[in-house]
Symmetry: C2
Subunit: 445 residues, 2 copies
């Protein structure tokens, strides 16, 4: 648990022989100028110079099918979004202390995608900032400080959010007011292998609450990434969140749905991850794909939840909700809705999972295929009965697929789940290419 | 001290009769969609639809000379920056887990503007995020938690940074590890009216350290906005920071220079505010004008200061240092350097201060004219001997100038200092217009 799973496949500077001379020079320059905090994906890092649609291109002109980056969600350099940014940047870019229609028009369009209880929105620039704001709001509203997150949750990198992001590893201590719970793992079951995932997850939440109260910590929020991405991608059965949310609310805590990864149609069946569970969160946060790569994020909430915070504390984020950010976000939402990308995510996601299930028939190492829409987890195990994690094999598959021109990563506490998040405009042909590349990697294991 | 000084001039929704029908409709829509946390500048809020150079335009086509917004520092919709954003957004926008030359080229150019000890840079999206990261780094490096800020400091809005931003008002509690000190006020003197501002400020810092230690809190950092913007704009005499920085370091604390407002040439005499004090910070943070409105920020540090944090905690900010942000920042820096905007800030800033000093000869209410380059404070007092703050009069001047088409604001704990931050390409003619509008407002007091 001391390593970010995404980093299990990270470049090891000691292995820089795998790089071209130019690549090695870039790595050295990076270390010199940016210091030791930055990591590179893959045993052989990529030097990316261009993006278009579902493809990224390296300096030699080689194309990579992007089945990982959920930020450029509607396609790299999507022309409609680029045009919207270029136009608005040339007309006006200022802040929310003047009246401007762009933010209001976008707010209206965004809120229309939510249940009507969630009727107000505040803007920031990153998912970290949105989650940080959600915490400030939850604390003010409940008067509590206690936070419940899953075992390997990732919610961001501000000081407050990092201390409730156990996936950052043991070198980043959790806050004394933070409790972790086992994720709703439909493959391995609850703590004692329970089959009722919802009940098991709710019991975990109740244990966390009991422990908090025993320590004199008043609960403020249960926050989950609604696809449990860093925990290993857990989406089924739909509805499993309901009981846990009720449990948290009985203790006076709010339910915060972190949609930074799941949101904006990626899960196919719904626009937002929480919807598939039939719950209405008190607060929803979003970011990454919101502006297709432009830094914009938001927090949507029930009005009574932000009332006290708004009145007493106020909130001004210099760049948050600026006209260019809102134009980028509006163009992105336009493309999602006009091109039916949520429906495409549902269709192509099913095709990809079917493809992996077909691979499972030939490769015993494929233990579980799960996810919804274009958020997919494929768990690799050495033995289907014992479910022994195939961690090294997973790293091999990720790196082998990268060598073969397809970009994915891995996730989960054991690092043995392929993390697959294709861009939303993936075609059936792109999906075949992805599954074939995975099949080829599994074949050469 | 319970109000953000910038908000003393804020729109009061109860006074919406001052608005046009359309303006009133926008205000109502804003309250409905964005909730109660957002504030508008001026008794009569502006509905801004376009920006160009040093001008903003409202929906009726009326032009406003922008002598306030330090974000669009090289001019609203500056064509070179817009072109750089549009170009890069159409080529590639991805993250730091792939190799990319844009971030390295910019890092090299940016670091060249710093003393050579400050040789590594990390990227984020907002000034709040940069300060939040600086705190995480300072805590890790020193093993301490204690933070010293000035009485009315503003450093940002993440939970951790808000609790060390007393300017957010008493509704946002300070952290128990935070100590405030009186700012280095060259007009009113130190706590006992001391004339040696540097010695008085250092004594304040020592008092804060003593109090921290008495409470078992280990000092981590002294952080100051190097022009003390929200405290009232304090820049003179150059060098006054030295003794306080030495005091903090003797106690094991780092010195963090918050250049989010002061940086990138605004102070005229130097590129960075700390330089005029002859000190070399351990960490420098920057944001607002860095990308001329594009959300990009950074933290520059001595390598030994970030070494442990980088190795143990790592840092990945999805949008931080992305190719478009770096292109925007590079174009902005290009314009500043090629057009000699730092030198222009020095020249025009002097002209503006001279203009206000001429006004002081006719208007006794002008108690002090200060600042450096295009960061200017003009303190208004009812009596030059007692220095009784002219708070209401200051609000009148700000609102009257807005009615006459010139945008400024106010600052300081008494809300009686005009806060003037013209865009860097201000011409002599723009400066005359600004001073004339101020003179007209003072005349009609």
């Amino acid at each position: 648990m001391s390593k970010d799973p995404a980093m299990l496949n990270a470049f090891n500077p000691d292995a820089s022989h795998a790089l071209s001379d130019h690549g090695r020079a870039l790595v050295e320059k990076r270390t010199r100028l940016l210091g030791p905090a930055y990591r590179l994906f893959y045993e052989e890092p990529l030097h990316i110079v261009r993006g278009e649609g579902v493809w990224l291109y390296d300096e030699a002109g080689r194309a990579y099918l992007d089945a990982y980056n959920n930020v450029a969600s509607v396609g790299h350099c999507r022309p409609e979004v680029v045009a919207a940014i270029a136009h608005q940047a040339g007309v006006l870019n200022t802040h929310t202390r003047y009246l401007n229609e762009g933010i209001l028009n976008y707010a209206e369009r965004l809120l229309a995608t939510f249940p009507r209880e969630l009727s107000q929105v505040m803007f920031a620039c990153t998912g970290s900032e949105a989650n940080d704001l959600a915490l400030r709001v939850a604390r003010r509203h409940t008067g509590g400080t206690g936070i419940i997150v899953t075992e390997l949750a990732y919610h961001g990198v501000t000081a407050t959010v990092a201390e409730m992001s156990p996936s950052l590893g043991s070198a980043v201590p959790l806050g004394s007011h933070v409790r972790t719970v086992l994720p709703p793992d439909g493959y391995r079951g609850g703590r004692n292998g329970e089959a009722d995932i919802g009940a098991a997850f709710a019991r975990e939440v109740q244990r966390a609450i009991d422990d908090m109260l025993r320590h004199g910590v008043k609960p403020a929020a249960l926050i989950v990434d609604t696809v449990f991405s860093s925990d290993g991608v857990f989406t089924d059965p739909p509805g499993f969140l309901r009981e846990a949310v009720e449990t948290a609310r009985r203790a006076g805590a709010l339910f915060i749905a972190d949609e930074v990864q799941a949101g904006f149609g990626r899960t196919g069946s719904k626009m937002w991850g929480f919807e598939r569970h039939g719950v209405i969160p008190d607060i929803v946060t979003m970011g990454k794909p919101m502006g297709n790569g432009h830094p914009v994020s938001a927090m949507v909430a029930k009005p009574d939840v932000i009332e006290q915070f708004g009145r007493e504390a106020r909130y001004f984020n210099t760049f948050g909700g600026n006209p260019v950010s809102c134009a980028a976000a509006m163009a992105t939402l336009d493309v999602i809705q006009r091109d039916g990308l949520q429906q495409n995510a549902a269709k192509i996601g099913t095709q990809i999972r079917d493809g992996f299930r077909a691979l499972a028939e030939r490769h015993n190492i494929v233990g579980d295929v799960r996810g919804d829409g274009l958020f997919i987890g494929v768990e690799l195990v050495r033995d289907r009965a014992t479910k022994e994690p195939a961690t090294q094999e997973t790293a091999y598959v990720v790196n082998e697929m990268r060598r073969n021109g397809v970009l994915i990563s891995s996730t989960g506490i054991r690092g043995n789940t392929l993390k697959i998040r294709p861009l939303l405009p993936f075609t059936a042909e792109n999906a075949n290419l992805l599954v074939d590349a995975a099949g080829e990697a599994l074949r050469t294991l």
